[in-house]
């Protein structure tokens, strides 16, 4: 009888987690370059004392635990902004960014130029080119990023954005502030990924999917709650009946 409560509890904990994941996706529905996460669950079979001699042997208890939150690496919608320093990535590559904590990767292509003339992210982290940071002098203007990542100004070519891809993008770890980290770095993207100049990749959160998942989580949670409630009633009735007979 306790087991039914605990199995219900395991489901509720898992649903609570799924709700957290949905809430984070929904909160980031307008975050540029954001990649949604989904929830994956796993059955956990609990060995119990079993009596093999019965015609139908005892079954093991089946709990649910959350196994992972895989990254949805689908591309977000590409929106043309007309801003010469905005760039969207077509394909599965990421921009490489130098942060104090090491190399990080992002899909947020809203780039800017800092006071030193370096190409940076909106957080001020240096965007890496094939030969290190890309720097402009104050006299330069007419910035342009070509589809192959070449950055030019009116003074000519200034470098090429370093695009990195990962064989297994699931290895990427969210660092917050639109940055991802990978334990072993990535490979150069090569010609598979192209850039869309003067555009930004929006969040890939699909609100319709998230809303329907939200409803599903909400309903399952209440139905489990109802089940646990009935279990409790059952136990209460059992106790009172047994007490009456005693």
């Amino acid at each position: 009888m306790e087991n039914a409560l605990l199995i219900g509890l395991s489901r509720q904990v898992a649903l609570g987690r799924e709700l957290d994941v949905i809430a984070n996706n929904m909160a980031n529905v307008t975050t540029n370059g954001f990649k949604a996460r989904s929830s994956r669950f796993r059955e956990y079979l609990m060995p119990v004392a079993s009596a093999e001699s019965f015609p139908r042997p005892d079954r093991r208890l089946s709990y649910v635990i959350d196994a992972g939150t895989p990254l949805d690496i689908r591309s977000g919608a590409i929106e043309h902004t007309g801003n010469p320093l905005d760039v969207a990535i077509k394909g599965d590559a990421f921009l490489a960014v130098q942060t104090p904590a090491g190399e990080r990767y992002t899909r947020n292509g809203a780039l800017e130029i800092d006071a030193q003339g370096q190409l940076v992210t909106s957080d001020g982290h240096t965007v890496l080119g094939d030969n290190g940071p890309i720097t402009f002098t104050p006299q330069e203007s007419g910035f342009e990023i070509a589809p192959d990542g070449t950055v030019t100004s009116n003074q000519g070519q200034r470098g090429r954005l370093r695009l990195v891809r990962f064989d297994n993008p699931q290895i990427l770890h969210n660092e917050g502030t639109n940055l991802l980290s990978a334990p072993n770095g990535g490979q150069p993207a090569g010609a598979t990924s192209r850039l869309e100049p003067r555009a930004i990749e929006r969040s890939n959160v699909r609100p319709v999917v998230e809303m329907s998942r939200l409803i599903e989580v909400n309903r399952s949670y209440s139905s489990v709650a109802g089940m646990v409630g009935r279990m409790d009633e059952l136990r209460r009735t059992a106790i009172s009946r047994l007490a009456d007979n005693g």
Partner: protein, 263 residues
């Protein structure tokens, strides 16, 4: 339940987004206005299972991690410093910049402000000033008798003075440039201030490369695109609603938990 707080950060972010959009729409007709855009970032993640962590002695690793984010924050609201349209005003002291420079304005407190709004006038002393009466640097004084003031694309101010056959040069308009224009601080009244992020101003004459040409009797409109702003507004409003639904759902789940046991 974390979802409540996560959705609250989402609602706050969209509220700010609507503020930025409404400010852009309010300044649809402001001369020299540069629109802002809100940029959001995801918050820290709680890593419950790290991807790539070992799952057995045989060296098998976890293919995907279990990471739960805690919402969104506003990273910055940079200005988009793109060129606005030029409209003809037929006023001789109206100047528009076609390019990247800024006019230098001497503020009453001694600091220098920078603006793209070239709707200048003359004050009682014949000095070229902004609508607020702040002096345009370097100061240009137009004598009372001067007629037919022309300002060339290179910023040279000329006027014909009665009794002189040649037009007289009255001064030269200078522009300033910044390596990072988006880093300028806005102080209202269409004025910007230099910041450590913008880098120091680099002065130059209009017409030199990168500074842009002047256009007399024209003004630069704001670079706000009404259609884009309205569609962003709709998107922001819907995103706000959806986040509020998450709060409702989290609340319902909590309430079904508390109602589980009827004691």
């Amino acid at each position: 339940m974390r979802a409540l707080h996560t959705a609250a950060t989402g609602m706050m972010a969209q509220e700010l987004n609507v503020q930025v959009i409404s400010n852009n729409i309010a300044n649809l007709r402001t001369t020299g206005y540069k629109r802002q855009r809100a940029q959001f970032q995801d918050l820290l993640y709680e890593t419950l299972r790290r991807p790539g962590s070992q799952t057995s002695d045989q060296g098998t690793v976890l293919p995907a991690g279990l990471e739960i984010g805690s919402g969104v924050k506003t990273g910055s609201t940079p200005r988009v410093m793109s060129q606005g349209n030029l409209t003809s005003t037929e006023k001789e002291y109206d100047l528009a910049i076609r390019g990247e420079g800024f006019f230098r304005i001497r503020l009453p407190d001694g600091r220098t402000g920078y603006t793209r709004d070239g709707s200048f006038e003359l004050d009682g002393q014949g000095q070229m000033v902004t609508r607020e009466g702040y002096i345009v640097e370097p100061a240009i004084t137009v004598p009372q008798t001067a007629k037919g003031v022309t300002i060339s694309a290179q910023g040279q101010v000329q006027a014909s003075i009665p009794g002189q056959t040649q037009p007289q040069v009255l001064g030269q308009v200078q522009l300033a440039r910044f390596v990072n224009k988006a880093g300028l601080e806005s102080m209202g009244d269409n004025l910007f201030l230099e910041t450590p992020a913008s880098g120091p101003p680099v002065d130059g004459a209009p017409g030199t490369e990168g500074y842009g040409n002047l256009q007399q009797a024209y003004l630069e409109e704001g670079n706000v695109n009404a259609v884009t702003e309205i569609s962003s507004l709709i998107a922001a409003q819907r995103a706000y609603e959806m986040n509020s639904k998450v709060i409702t759902a989290a609340d319902q789940m909590l309430s079904s938990t508390t109602n589980m046991f009827r004691g």
